[in-house]
Symmetry: C3
Subunit: 347 residues, 3 copies
C-alpha cells in the first residue's frame, strides 16, 4: 500500500497545502472516505457533503479555501488534481515487455522496444507497433496497421488492415476500428456493395470505449482527432471527421460523412445524422437527435421527458395533431378579431 503525505502530493502535483500535513493511504469519495484517505470537492456547491465527510484531507477549489476545516490541497481544478492523486496511489500496471509465445506475429511486422504482446494476439503483415505499447490477449491487428508508442489495447480489440492509431491511445475491449462503412448501391431492388477503400486514422491521446465501432472511409479516410474520448458502444460511420478533444458518451451514433468540431461534448445516446457539419464547442444533451447543422457554440437538446404512462397516452395522441391544433388556434384568433370589431371591443 502506497503512503504519501499531503506535502509530498503538493510538491509532485502543485497546489497549495493548508491546515497541516498528514500521511494518506488512498483516495475515496466524500461519503465513503476514511481519515487515512483524501477526497475532493469539485466546486463550491458540493460543500455540504464535505462538512460531514470523514476524509482526512480534501482537495478544494480556491473559492472554498477559507472553509478548509482539515488538511487541504487548494487547486484551480480539484477534479483534475484528484485524478492525478488517484494515479499516484493507483499507478497503472507496469508494461512487462515480451511477446507471449502463443501470439502469431507475421514475419514482416515490426514491434518496438519495450512492448508487451499478450496471448493469442495476431499481428498481420507489415503491422508496426510503437515502443512500450501493450496489446492485450486476443487482439487482432490487420496488415499494414500502425500503432503509436505507449498505446494500450485491452483484450479483444480488432483493427482492420491499414488502421492507424496515435501514441498513448487507450482502446477498450471489443472495439472494432476499420470495419467497412455501410455503403451499398440500389439496383433493381437489390444492393451492390460499394468497396470501402479509405482507412481509420486516430490521433494521439484518444480513448475508445468497449465495443465501440469506427468504420473505415468509403474513398477518403475516417479521421478521429487528437485527444478524442469515446465511451462504450459508440458508432462512428464512414468518412466522419471528429475534431480534437471532442468527447462522446455511450451509445452515441454518428452517421456517415458528418464533421464534428473541436471540444464538443455529446451526451449519451445522442444521434447525429449524416453529411452534417457541427462546429466547435457544441454541447449536445443526452438522447438528443441532431438533424440539422450546428455552428453556434452552446447546448442543444431535443428529448421528451417521461410521464406516468396514463398521462403519456393522453398527451401523445395530440402530438400527431399539432398542425390541426395550430390551425384551430389561428381560426379562433380570426373569429375573435371579427367579434372584437363587431362589438367594438379592443383587447
Amino acid at each position: 500500500m502506497t503512503t504519501l503525505t499531503l506535502t509530498e502530493i503538493a510538491s509532485q502535483l502543485g497546489g497549495l497545502a493548508v491546515r497541516g500535513d498528514l500521511a494518506l493511504q488512498g483516495v475515496a469519495a466524500l461519503d465513503t472516505a476514511t481519515p487515512e484517505q483524501i477526497s475532493f470537492v469539485a466546486s463550491a456547491k458540493h460543500d455540504s457533503r464535505a462538512k460531514t465527510s470523514r476524509a482526512g484531507a480534501l482537495v478544494l477549489p480556491s473559492a472554498l479555501a477559507e472553509q478548509a476545516d482539515r488538511p487541504c490541497l487548494i487547486t484551480d481544478n480539484p477534479l483534475a488534481t484528484f485524478a492525478r492523486i488517484t494515479a499516484l496511489f493507483h499507478p497503472e500496471a507496469a508494461v512487462q515487455p515480451g511477446i507471449h509465445p502463443s501470439a502469431v506475429i507475421d514475419a514482416t511486422a515490426q514491434i518496438g522496444p519495450g512492448c508487451e504482446i499478450g496471448p493469442f494476439v495476431h499481428l498481420g503483415a507489415g503491422a508496426v507497433i510503437g515502443a512500450n505499447s501493450r496489446l492485450g490477449a486476443a487482439c487482432v491487428i490487420g496488415t499494414g496497421c500502425e500503432i503509436g508508442a505507449n498505446a494500450l489495447l485491452h483484450p479483444r480489440v480488432t483493427l482492420y488492415p491499414q488502421t492507424r492509431i496515435g501514441a498513448r491511445c487507450i482502446l477498450h475491449s471489443g472495439c472494432v476500428l476499420g470495419s467497412d462503412g455501410f455503403g451499398n448501391a440500389l439496383e433493381n431492388g437489390r444492393w451492390t456493395k460499394i468497396p470501402q477503400i479509405g482507412r481509420v486514422i486516430v490521433g494521439d491521446d484518444c480513448e475508445i470505449g468497449a465495443n465501440t465501432c469506427i468504420d473505415r472511409g468509403a474513398l477518403a479516410d475516417t479521421v478521429i482527432g487528437r485527444g478524442v474520448k469515446l465511451d462504450n458502444l459508440v458508432h462512428i460511420a464512414h468518412n466522419c471527421q471528429i475534431g480534437d478533444d471532442t468527447a462522446m458518451a455511450a451509445c452515441v451514433g454518428i452517421a456517415g460523412s458528418t464533421k464534428i468540431g473541436q471540444r464538443c461534448q455529446i451526451g449519451g445516446a445522442a444521434m447525429i445524422i449524416g453529411h452534417l457539419e457541427i462546429g466547435d464547442d457544441i454541447l449536445i444533451s443526452a438522447g438528443t437527435f441532431i438533424g440539422k447543422p450546428l455552428s453556434k457554440p452552446g447546448t442543444y437538446t431535443s428529448v421528451m421527458l417521461q410521464q406516468a404512462h396514463a398521462d403519456w397516452v393522453k398527451n401523445a395522441a395530440h402530438l400527431r395533431h399539432l398542425h390541426t391544433m395550430h390551425e384551430r388556434i389561428k381560426m379562433l384568433e380570426k373569429q375573435i378579431s371579427v367579434l372584437n370589431t363587431e362589438t367594438g371591443t379592443s383587447s
Copy 2:
C-alpha cells in the same frame, strides 16, 4: 429424442394433468405444434389460437381449465411451467470437465473441480473459477477475477481485472465487464483521464447479453444485484447500482452513478441519465428517456409514435413552437373573457 408423458411431466414439475395422458416428443408454439408436441396458453386472452392448434397437449392457466379440449397441464404460471418443460426436452449440454491444451492459465489461477475451459481462454494471475463452470473459447479473464460456481461464459467474454461474477451467471458472447468508466476532467479544453479504481460486482443468477458493457466504478464499485437480466448491447456506466431481479431489454443505456431498484423492467432502447434514483417495481416503456428520478411504482413512457413522413413534417414544425402556441391560447382566453363581459355572455 426425448419422450415424456404428460403424467411424467406433471410429476416432475407439478401442476394438474387433466383429460388423459399421452407421450410427447417436444415443445412448440401454438401455431406450429404437432400432435406429438406440447404448447401453452399464457393467459385467458390467447384462447382463440389454442382452439385451432394441432398441439397434442397444452399447458393452461387455471382460468381456462374448464375449456380443456385435450390432455392439458393446469398450472398457475403456464409460461414458467412451459419454460421448465422446454428444459426437460432440451437439457443444456453437460459440462465436459477439462482444460483445453491451448488455454493459457496463469500458474496462480485457481480452477474449481468439474470446470470446462475452452480453447484460447486466458486466465490471469490469481483468477478464481468456481466448480463446474464453463468458459467458452477465447474468453479473457483478468487478474484477480472471481467467477462463482456453475457459471456459463459463452465464447469471447472479457472480464477486466478484479471483476466478480456470482454463481450460475450466464454471460453471452462479446460482453465486456470491468472496462474503465468514462471519467475525464477538463483542463484548458483538454481531457485528463480519471483513473477508474472501482470494480464490477455481479450477483448470483444474472444473465448478461451479447456485446453488453458494464464499466467498473470510478472510486466505489459498479454493483449488479442478484437475478438481474440484461439483454444485448446494454450499457451500464460506472458506479451504477442495479437492484435484484431487475431486467433490461436490448440497447438500454444507464448513465453513471444511477441507482435502480429491485424488480424494475426497462424496455428496449430506453435511456436513463446519470445520478438518478429509480425506485423498486418501476416499469419503463421501450424507447423512453428518463431524465428525472422515479419513486412511485408504475409504468413510465416518453416516446413519439411514427407518422407518415408528410404528416410528421406538418406536425413536427409546431413542436418547436409549443410555448408560442400556449401563449396564443392564453391571449385568446383573456380576449374571450373580455368579450363575455362586454356582451354580457356567460359560457
Copy 3:
C-alpha cells in the same frame, strides 16, 4: 498499381464511353480526384461539383450525358457502376487457402476446398464450412453451424451452435449470431429462464456489421432473408423475420417476433417494438420509434429535432400538457360559438 483505360472499363462493366479515352489509375470523390482518377455524379443535382472536379473521367447518368466535358462513362446507375469500378481498382485480397496451425478444428468439422482458416479459430463438432470461405482470426464457430461458400468472416465473429449462414455472406468483427433470445418468465418477482431452442438462419449475400447481435429463436428460428444488409451495433431479437434485401443502418433495434418485409430501409437508431408486422418497401427515418404495424409503402418518421437548450426548456414543458392545451382550445371554440350566436356574428 492497377491501370485501366476508360474503354477497358466500359467493355468489362457496360455503359457508354464518350468524349475520348484515357488511362486511369484509381477512383476518388469529386473534390479530391486527380486527372488520373475517375469519379462519379450520382444524379443530375450534383452537377455543380462535377464542373470544378479535376477528375480525369466521370461516370454520369444518362440525364447528364449532354454535359460531358471530358471522357465519361454514361450508365443508368452511376453509383452502382462506380462501385464496380472501385472493385476493379481495389480487388478483394485473394483467399489464401489453408488452415492456420493454431486453429482448433473439431475432428468432425468439414471444411470445403479453398477455405482460409485464420489463427485461433475454433470450429466446433459437425460445423460445415463451404468452399472458398474465409474465417478471420479468433472466430468461434459453434457445433453444428453451417456456413455457405465464398463467405467472409472477419476476425472475432461468434456463431452459436446450429447457426446457418448463406453463401457470399460478409460478417464483420465482433458480431454475434445465435445468442439466446431474451426470454424470462416472472414467478413471484423472480425470473425463470426460458430455454431458447430456435436457431438463426441467414440467407445468401447478407452483410452483418461490427458488434451486431442476432438472437436465436425461442421455439422457431430467427430468419434473415437473402441480401439483407445490417450495419454496426444492430440488435435483432428472437423470432424476428427480416425480408430479402432489407437494409438497416447502425444502432437499430428490432424487438422480438417482429416481422419486417422486403426492400425496407431502416435509418440509424430507429427502434421497432416487438410482435409487429412491417410490410414491404417501408422506409423508416433515422431515430424513429415504430410502435404500431405498417403496411403501406412509404416513409415514416417520429423524431423531435434539436433546439437551443433554452428554447427546448420553454417548449418541452408543454409536451406534458398537450391534452390540457387541447381541452382549452375546445373550450374556446365553444365560447366563440356562443358569442357568435349571441352577437349574431358569422365568421
